[in-house]
């Protein structure tokens, strides 16, 4: 295996998200950023492939504002060899169509590769569209929801894809993209040496011009979709709360379920 490219996204840490009780809107200020949780499994898998084959280069790529560099440094500290930040004002307001196009341009710029990996979906947008989108721009197969890799080598892989009621065992030949699940592996903790190396690493910033991206396919104008409005859903409030564990308490719950036609 010569090269694995891992795509990650920097997202707000959902665990730190707070809802303003008066306006019922999300408070985004001061919320720390993290690597999208599913992408941690993508990074880990890239590093495991390198450890297995030895001669593999793991390149980690993200698109975002300059501060997304923090996410890339974290990926480097875990063992990725090289990081690239795709950042340009022209990329702002890209939807999944434009984003997957920009990421596919980066792949072409990087050069040859054996496999592309990314997480199942990002925890902010939850679309799961960018991974398959990249594969579509590159005209390669994509396999989503990977929970297990039975075998992987240059030009061949045998993997398991999770379905709602089971899983598929899939063989793929040639280059491909996979989106991965938590079940695949357990991400490592960065080593001290990794952290030091990540601190010193130079991370190039690639612009639209450098990527030779078509202006008609990036940013706001290149995005087919438009957000008409964003709003907060009605707040979910706690309802009835009773203390106890006797028959009467359970009867109360039973009656609640029947009254609301839940049984």
């Amino acid at each position: 295996m010569n090269r694995v490219i891992v795509f990650i996204k920097q997202v707000p840490d959902t665990a730190e998200l707070k809802i303003d009780p008066t306006t019922n809107t999300m408070i985004r200020e001061g919320v720390p950023s993290i690597i999208n949780p599913f992408d941690m499994y993508a990074i880990e898998e890239g590093i495991r492939i390198k450890e297995k084959w030895g001669d593999t280069e793991v390149v980690v790529v993200t698109m975002g504002p300059p501060q997304a560099e923090t996410a890339l440094r974290e990926a480097l500290s875990l063992g990725c060899d090289r990081a690239i930040l795709l950042s340009d004002k022209k990329f702002a307001a890209s939807d999944t169509y434009a984003t997957s196009y920009i990421l596919s341009c980066a792949v072409k710029k990087i050069g040859d590769y054996d496999v592309l990996i990314t997480g199942k979906q990002a925890s902010d947008g939850d679309t799961a569209q960018v991974g398959p989108g990249i594969a579509s721009w590159l005209n390669i197969p994509s396999i989503t929801y990977i929970r297990k890799i039975d075998e992987i080598r240059a030009g061949y892989a045998k993997v398991e894809r999770m379905r709602n009621d089971g899983f598929d065992i899939i063989e793929v030949t040639g280059k491909f993209l996979m989106t991965v699940l938590k079940e695949l592996n357990e991400p490592r903790i960065p080593s001290f040496r990794g952290k030091m190396a990540a601190k010193k690493a130079e991370i190039p910033i690639w612009s639209a011009e450098y990527l030779e991206a078509d202006d008609g396919k990036i940013g706001f104008l290149g995005s087919p979709t438009r957000v008409v409005r964003a709003f907060s859903p009605p707040p979910k409030k706690g309802g009835i709360k009773v203390e106890g564990e006797d028959e009467e308490t359970v009867n109360g719950l039973y009656n609640f379920l029947s009254e609301n036609k839940m049984l």
Binding site: P12, T14, A15, L17, M26, P37, F38, T96, Y97, S100, S123, D126, T127, Q129, P132, G133, A135, S136, P141, S142, I143, Y145, R161, M162, R163, N164, D165, G166, F167, D168, I169, I170, E171, V172, F176, L181, K182, E183, P224, T225, R226, V227, V228, A230, F231, P233, K236, G238, G239, K241, V242, E243, E245, E247, V250, L253, Y254, L257, M262, L263
Partner: protein, 323 residues
């Protein structure tokens, strides 16, 4: 010629997926507003005729079947190739499909190939007055934010829709109009060697009306049997919190939450689950949330419609007995 709304359906051969009926019902409602016709596409292999005919009761004007052995399993390459050829032939205004593993794997690739706008996991669809554009509403940030999205200048307008969001309306009496088509297919670099059906029952979280989930409060792996027993009584699927999956009390396929599955059943039982925000984002859009936990300060009570502060080992067996 009338505009077209196309529903890309799903079939296992024996059955047509319920989300296909849900979407043909919704498509018929939208079609009235823009004077369009509803075509349901069914890619698959050896698809039964009876479930196809039911589509004419749920709003379809026409059903196009692509029956091809290559479509027996979810092979992304064959599906994309056949559906792309079909959509190019039909030039629809709107394309809807279920936000299922099939829809979420195939449609993003088609949207790129067609240069179309795509909105994922919609929970509401409507037509905008004046422009006749499709308004697509979807949750983001695990349901903490809703966004309404449209595609003004490109066609088709594509959306994946969460199963069980729209009701099946079986009151239509459209004439049966089924057409079989074939497109030039080719080789595939992907081969599905085996489609394994889970031996575990009660696992299909996405399709469940009721989910009974267990958490760390169960204390040990063996106590999940209590969750299974309650789920069995209710005809529910079994869910789990992340810590129980990490402790290997139950398999990952059951995990609800940020790094597991997002669910929105009619009733969600959180038993012995404290309700960390990562769990909440995966289930808070459930219609009713029932929580049983002995910790009065557990965050799950902030979003539960009915909470019992008490020992689950006392409460759950009593509830099972009553059912």
């Amino acid at each position: 010629m009338r505009d077209k709304i196309i529903v890309v359906g799903e079939s296992t051969g024996q059955n047509v997926h319920h989300v296909t009926y849900e979407l043909s019902s919704k498509a018929a409602e939208l079609a009235k507003k823009i004077d369009a016709k509803v075509i349901v596409l069914l890619p698959g292999y050896t698809i039964n005729r009876i479930p196809i005919e039911k589509l004419f009761k749920t709003g379809a004007d026409k059903v196009v079947v692509i029956d091809n052995e290559n479509l027996k399993f979810l092979n992304d390459i064959h599906f994309v190739r056949n559906i792309e050829a079909f959509l190019k032939e039909e030039s629809p205004k709107i394309v809807l499909t279920g936000a299922t593993p099939q829809g979420r794997s195939i449609i993003p690739k088609l949207a790129i190939k067609l240069g179309a706008g795509l909105t994922a996991d919609c929970t509401e669809l409507d037509i905008e007055d004046g422009t006749n554009l499709l308004l697509q509403t979807r949750p983001a940030f695990g349901g903490n934010l809703m966004a309404t999205i449209k595609t003004p200048n490109r066609l088709p307008q594509m959306a994946t829709v969460r199963p069980k969001v729209f009701k099946i309306n079986e009151t239509y009496t459209k004439e049966v109009n089924i057409e079989y088509r074939n497109y030039i297919d080719g080789n595939s670099d992907i081969k599905i060697i085996e489609a394994v059906k889970s031996m575990e029952e009660l696992i299909n979280l996405a399709d469940a009306d009721i989910i009974v989930s267990g958490g760390r409060g169960l204390g040990k792996k063996e106590n999940f049997s209590l969750i299974y027993e309650l789920a069995d009584k209710l005809g529910a699927a079994v869910g789990a919190s992340r810590p129980t999956v990490d402790a290997e009390w139950i398999s990952y396929a059951h995990q609800v939450g940020q790094t597991g599955t997002t669910v929105s059943p009619k009733i969600y039982f959180a038993i012995g689950i404290s309700g960390a925000i990562q769990h909440q984002v995966g289930m808070k859009s459930s219609d009713y949330i029932i929580a049983i936990n002995k910790d009065i300060n557990a965050p799950i009570f902030n979003i539960a419609d009915y909470g019992i502060v008490g020992d689950l080992f006392e409460v759950v067996p009593k509830l099972i007995k009553k059912l």
